[in-house]
Symmetry: C2
Subunit: 339 residues, 2 copies
C-alpha cells in the first residue's frame, strides 16, 4: 500500500502537521532533530507525495489530454508518440482519448479531461465536425478555461492558431512532381471536403498545374475520406476517366490505390502512377515504393506539447500559427513519361 | 474558469458545507428550499465535481496506466486502441506510457502512475527486461500495491497470470501450413530469445515439423528483434542457407522479408514464401498479400481492461491466465510446392 504522511508521522513519532511542514519547507519552528528524523523516515519508507493532493493544491497535474480520431491509424500513432515523448521529457503525462471522429465523443472527452484536472488539451477535432460543431467544441473548452492547442486539423475562420503542415505547399509539391514527370491527366483522391487541410492540398495542387500549363478538371477530383476504402473507390473512378496518375491525399488513400491495382491486375507505376501523403507508414515495402509528401508528424506532436507547456508556464496560452514544411520523398511509384 | 463549490455557495447564498452536504446526499438537516436552490445553481453554473478531490476521497481515479514499448508500432497502436475503447465504455481513462523498451523508463513510469493515483497498470514489459529485471518491475508494482495485468509479453516462471495469445499454437499453425504446402527447408526469424512469446512460437513450429516428418535444423533459425531491419538481415542469412520459406515471428519482420526481396530482385512467393504473425498491419496491400497468423490484438487490449476493472471492483486483483486463440489467415505469400 501507498505510504502516507500519517505513516511517516507514526514512524517518526511526531504529528502529521509536523511532517507536512517539513516536507513543504516550512519547518523553521520545528527542532532540527525532528526535521532530520522525518526526512530519514521519508527516505526509509520511500514516501512520494500523492500527486492528486499536489494537483489540487497547485491546481496543476502536469497532465495533458490528447484528443484524436483513432490511435490505431499510423498517422495518429506517430503523432501520439511525439506528444508522449515530449511529455515524458518534460515530466508530464498523457491521457489519450480516441473520438473515432464523433463530435459527441469529443465533447464528452473534453469534459472528462477537465474533470480530471488536465492542464491542457491538444485537439485534433473529429472528421465529422462542421464549423458549427467545431465552434461548439472550442466554446466548451473556452467555458472550462482549459488551454488548448489545435494540431493537424484546423479551420482558419474559426481559429487561426494551430500546429500543422503547410498543406498548400504539400499539394504543390505533389502536383509539381507529377507534372514534371510528364503527366497531364492527374486525378486527386481528396479528404472530406469540410476539412481545410484537404482543401489546401487542392489549392497547392492547382497552383502547380497552372504553373505547368496544365488545365485543372474538377471531374478528375474524387472526394475521399482519408481511408483505404475510398482510395480503392477513387482509383476505380479515376482510372475509368483515363488519368495516368493519382495524387492520394494521405497514406491510407495511397494504399487503397495499390490495393485497387493489385485486385485489378494493374501495376504501379506502369499502369498508374501514385503520389501519397504523410509518409508515416511502410512506403518502402512495396515492389514500387511509394513516392510521398512527407509531413513531420512526430515533430508536430512534440511541438504541440512544447507550445502547450510553455503557455501553461507563462500562464498565457500560446496563440500562434505554426506551419511545418512538407517534403517530397521520391521513390518509385511515378512513371517518367518524358522518356 | 472551473466552477467550484465556493461559487455555488456564493450564488445560492449559503455555506460551502451546505453545498457539499447537498451534493453528497447528506442534506437531511438542510431546509428543502435551500437544497432546491443549491441544485438549481449547480445546474445553472454547470458545476461538475473536481475528480482530483473525488479521487482523493474515494481513493479511486478511474484511470488506468498502459505501459507499452512504442505506440507508433502498429501492434501496440492496435492494443492501445482496444484498451482505450474499453476504458471509455466503462467511463475510465487511459494514461499512455511508452518505455521504448527500456527497463529504467518502465520503472519510472510505474512510480509516476502510482503518484498520479492510477487505479491499475496494464503492463507489456520492455523488450530488454531479463527475468531479474521483470522481477524488479513486478516487485515495485507489488510494493506500491497497484493492481496490474500483464499483457502480450510474459515470463511464466516469474508470473503465470497474463492476457496473451497462445503462441505455441500460433507457431504450430505457421509450421503446419508451410509443411502442408510442401516446404521442407523452412527458416525462422524469431523475436529476442529472452521473450517467452517468441520461444513458444518456436515450440509450436517444431511440433508442426515433427508431425509432418520434417527434421528441424537449429541453423535455420535466425534470432531477430521484432523489427524490419532484423527481418531483412534474417532473410539475407536464411536465403543463403537455401530455405524455400520463412516464418517471420511478427508483422514488421515479415515486412523486412518483403523489403529484402524487393531490394534483391526476388519475388514473394516465387522466390521465397513467407508466413507472418500479428496481422495488425497492411497485409493485403502487397502484390502478394501476406499469409499471417492473426493475433486478436484489439480484443486482448479490451480483455485486459475488463480483467483490471473487474478486479478493482471486487477489490481482488484478477489472477488468471487468459490465452487467446490465434488464427491462420491464408493469403498469397506461400508458394504451393505440391503442384
Amino acid at each position: 500500500m501507498r505510504v502516507t504522511m500519517k505513516d511517516i508521522a507514526k514512524s517518526a513519532g511526531c504529528s502529521v502537521t509536523t511532517v507536512s511542514l517539513v516536507l513543504n519547507n516550512k519547518a523553521r519552528s520545528i527542532p532540527e532533530q525532528t526535521q532530520k528524523r522525518v526526512l530519514e523516515v521519508v527516505k526509509e519508507l520511500k514516501y512520494r507525495p500523492n500527486q492528486l493532493a499536489v494537483g489540487l493544491i497547485k491546481k496543476q497535474t502536469r497532465t495533458i489530454g490528447l484528443v484524436i480520431s483513432d490511435v490505431s491509424n499510423s498517422f495518429f500513432a506517430t503523432l501520439t508518440k511525439g506528444v508522449e515523448d515530449e511529455c515524458r521529457r518534460e515530466g508530464w503525462n498523457l491521457i489519450l482519448c480516441n473520438t473515432n471522429d464523433y463530435h459527441k465523443r469529443e465533447m464528452e472527452y473534453i469534459r472528462t479531461l477537465d474533470d480530471k484536472g488536465a492542464d491542457g488539451i491538444i485537439l485534433c477535432f473529429a472528421k465529422e465536425d462542421d464549423p458549427a460543431q467545431l465552434r461548439e467544441t472550442l466554446g466548451l473548452i473556452g467555458e472550462l478555461g482549459v488551454p488548448h492547442i489545435m494540431v493537424d486539423r484546423y479551420v482558419s475562420d474559426v481559429e487561426p492558431y494551430f500546429v500543422a503542415t503547410d498543406h498548400e505547399k504539400g499539394g504543390y509539391l505533389a502536383g509539381k512532381h507529377l507534372a514534371g514527370m510528364g503527366h497531364k491527366r492527374i486525378g486527386c483522391i481528396t479528404g472530406p471536403d469540410n476539412l481545410e487541410d484537404s482543401r489546401m492540398r487542392t489549392e497547392g495542387f492547382k497552383r502547380a498545374l497552372r504553373e505547368s500549363g496544365i488545365s485543372f478538371d474538377g471531374r478528375d477530383v474524387y472526394e475521399g475520406n482519408y481511408d483505404m476504402e475510398s482510395g480503392e473507390r477513387g482509383a476505380e473512378y479515376l482510372m475509368k476517366r483515363g488519368v495516368t496518375a493519382i495524387f492520394a491525399y494521405n497514406e491510407l488513400t495511397a494504399y487503397g490505390v495499390y490495393r485497387w491495382a493489385g485486385k485489378n491486375g494493374k501495376t504501379v507505376p506502369e499502369d498508374v502512377s501514385v503520389v501519397g501523403y504523410d509518409d508515416v507508414g511502410f512506403s518502402d515495402i512495396f515492389n514500387a515504393p511509394l513516392t510521398s509528401v512527407r509531413q513531420p508528424v512526430y515533430e508536430m506532436g512534440k511541438e504541440a506539447v512544447r507550445q502547450m507547456i510553455a503557455g501553461i508556464k507563462e500562464k498565457k496560452p500560446k496563440k500562434e500559427k505554426i506551419q511545418f514544411e512538407p517534403e517530397l520523398v521520391i521513390r518509385k511509384s511515378v512513371k517518367d513519361l518524358n522518356r
